[in-house]
Amino acid sequence: MISLPYSKNKRYLSGIDWFLCGLDHSLKALTGSGNLFSVALELEGFCDAGPLKENLEKYFAGYPLLVGKPSRCWNLAPYWKIPKNPCISWGFKQHQLDEGLSFDRTLEALSLGVNTAFSRDDEHVRVSLFTLRQKSYLVFVFDHRLFDARGAEMFIAGLQAHFEGKPVTAAQPREPAHLDRWADKFLAGQRVNRFFIKFRQKGRASGFDLPRLVGARRSRFKVLSLSLEETDRVIKNADARAGYLLLMPFALAASIRSTARLFAKQGISRTHCLVPVTIDTRSRAKVGKEMFFNHASFMFFGFEAGDIKDFSGLIAKASRQFYDMVQSGLSRDIKDAAMLMRIAPLRFLARFLKLSLNEQTASLAFSYNGDGVYAEKEFFGHKVLNLMHLPRVPVPPGLGIFFTRFGGRLNLVVSYLDGLVDDADVAVLAEDIKKELLQG
């Protein structure tokens, strides 16, 4: 391995990090704001902003990475550049919610932050507090270039530890420049390309036609939080239908079936679906040690229109593909192959992604996060009722279905680009997925 002198003001970006930077560039160009996601804590009781803001300020000051931005090194490897004298700036806003607001309306308010671009290229976190008399929502907006879903939860868990005066491990591992093992990277690229050729031969996948994108386009969300009893039922159904612990392919099959029904209702009659699924590649032991940047990779599932009729067959197909992709090491190959894309300037990378995605539109984005890193029962003296992830979805496909768990309960989140599909249809889609999961 080529070892370069380590600078505390520099953190090399992986291929997946650079890919996420490309998506950010593309989303900014198409929708006005970048590749952002929110994590919302639902808290019991009225939360006082004063002490919270004070503690946030102290906590944020410990992380100079929060004011970095992508740059390129003399060796052409992209890196995260941290200023020599970092001055951490971050946004904080407080909002009073109207009492008696429906959950969907509340959600619309909570998603304001994730739909607003950061004001500067070196701003990557924003916090908003929404209060009611008996309930508060603390919403963190994260820049996906710097955090992935688990990293964001870890950041919030660290904040809590900081509040409680516990030691916080500032997880900022040294990342090498990855300028070695080129033959391995090219071979991985060859395997990934061969994998995609199979999909390309089938032509364009089912998916919504994108509306004409002019200026800012926000993401909208539908969230269904299942009760503990409902979640237990879903797990039992997954055990029985897909196999022990195979909740992910079960949830994917239910999501595909319901989305295919929605496509059929909208008159989208293409014959197959392509679903990129985000997979966290960290081992459990590593999750607690890597807070910043992206440690995910992808898997790609393909389904034919005929698969939808037989739910058992659909589940078996999802499980089979899952097994085959793990066995072939596809996620690892994608991570390695992505290193080759780091040479591309962001503008070019965004254009390349747009061209390749337009040719081969994914039907929807999907992820199942399972139990998160944040598992605290109280935050700042308030009982934590729920934790929701609200991610913006890359365009195309502009539609995503995400599952997370908090406190044993399953959250189903549908994220969609405004104007892509009616709110009523999304509500039906979410209920339909829930029904599939509960009925098994």
Binding site: Y244, L246, M248, R284, F322, Y323, V326, D371
Partner: protein, 83 residues
Amino acid sequence: MPKTNKEIETVLVKEVAVILGEEPAAIAADRPLAELGIDSLSFVELLVAIEKNFGLKLMESGLTKEDFRTLRSLANRIVAGLK
């Protein structure tokens, strides 16, 4: 190839330790897999490791909760499958 329950259990503990990024000593063979922190992805990684080590495709032969409750019960399932 390991053949006794104990030998198979040792191989499974080592594989799970690699998958979870833990030391083998931290993996108890009598703890439920879900409690060890195994999720859908790590479970499939374990199935792939079983195929590699023992030539058994458990994904295709049915995955009952009882067989997979702990690494010990899984070792018993593998012994039965190898006979």
